[in-house]
């Protein structure tokens, strides 16, 4: 069963879900392939009954409703075809289904409309120690940078927190807004990127919401600083340790017409 057919089975059974994980990255055109389907589900008895019916169709397994509602993560695999569906009740930075909905929007998967986590929330959910998640974070950074450079989306501190690098900083639309972000942004990750690339550090140091990590980075002696930042793997390791704050009301990338 391919991903489209799995999504159809979930929809046909009336499951309340949001696509997350690598497949959300595929649907957002950041990641080219993910072997399985990860969904976060609403944790209600009624939805668990629907999920059970869908999992029976997809993986030929019949999990108890109590099990569905009792574990944060479950994995079901059809031994005949290898079709795999992973169920989540929560993710890193995404407390539950409702939080996922606030940070998601609809995507047309070859004629099937499904709700999919937005790239910034996906980025936040992939702050783990798993190497594959580091690659996925990088792919999301590249996708958002591409959209910024193509002037396809509105640029704000959430987007820049995910993708600011020297190329993005040099973009004519981005360059003039960085000074103000340095002074005002409450995004620790954007502050850290500004400090790492030495952009408006004179203003950043005056930011009343300056996070401890960019503050320490700016105070670091040059040799240690170079050690941390010069190699891309080191920089990626540092950025992975700084949180992306999703707005309480949720966040959706705003596309330009």
């Amino acid at each position: 069963m391919n991903i489209r057919e799995q999504l159809e089975a979930l929809l046909a059974n009336g499951v309340e879900f949001v696509v997350v994980g690598g497949q959300a990255g595929v649907l957002r055109q950041a990641i080219e392939f993910s072997h399985d389907l990860d969904v976060i589900i609403r944790a209600t008895q009624e939805n668990a009954r629907r999920v059970r019916a869908a999992v029976q169709q997809i993986a030929h397994a019949a999990p108890d409703e109590e099990l569905i509602l009792g574990r944060d993560f479950q994995q079901y695999i059809d031994p005949a075809s290898g079709t795999e569906i992973d169920l989540h009740l929560k993710l890193i930075s995404i407390a539950d289904f409702e939080a996922a909905k606030r940070n998601a929007s609809d995507v047309d998967y070859l004629g099937v409309t499904v709700t999919v986590l937005e790239l910034p929330a996906l980025y936040a959910s992939k702050r783990t120690d798993r190497p594959r998640d580091a690659v996925h974070r990088r792919a999301i950074e590249d996708r958002l940078a591409h959209l910024v450079l193509q002037a396809a989306i509105e640029i704000d501190d959430v987007v820049l927190a995910c993708c600011l690098d020297r190329e993005v900083a040099d973009h004519p639309e981005v360059r003039p807004m960085l000074a103000e972000h340095a002074e005002r942004t409450t995004q620790p990750l954007l502050q850290t990127r500004l400090a790492a690339f030495e952009l408006h550090v004179d203003r950043l140091i005056r930011n009343p919401a300056l996070h401890a990590t960019p503050r320490a980075l700016m105070a670091l002696e040059p040799t240690a600083r170079a050690k941390l930042l010069q190699h891309p793997a080191r920089l990626a390791a540092l950025l992975a340790r700084v949180p992306l704050e999703l707005p309480a009301g949720g966040y959706r990338v705003r596309w330009r017409a």
Partner: protein, 97 residues
């Protein structure tokens, strides 16, 4: 190739695959010192072994070369799933002989 036998995949919950764990919450100077200590340890080991242990960074080469239309993107993903399923079924047949 290092692959688990198909028999290890069972209906129901599979617990064997490692999931990503949240990164520690350390911030500020403590975080930077932790990362610098890791680099120092690695450099000492690399000097002793005479090889570079610096990990490859996730790079642009991991990203698609171009993004193109969503429809073509998803069709390609579906096609890859068909190949994967076919390979799975063939391996299963081979192992059951």
């Amino acid at each position: 190739m290092d692959r688990k036998p198909l028999e290890s995949y069972v209906l129901g919950v599979r617990r064997s695959r490692r999931r990503g764990q949240p990164l520690p919450q350390t911030t500020g100077e403590a975080l930077l010192m932790e990362l610098l200590a890791e680099i120092d340890d690695e450099e000492q080991l690399a000097a002793a072994l005479g090889v570079s242990l610096t990990p490859p960074a996730p790079s642009r080469s991991h990203a698609p070369r171009s993004y193109g239309p969503l429809r073509a993107w998803l069709e390609r993903s579906d096609e890859a799933h068909c190949h994967r399923e076919q390979a799975w079924r063939e391996e299963r047949r081979r192992l059951s002989r």
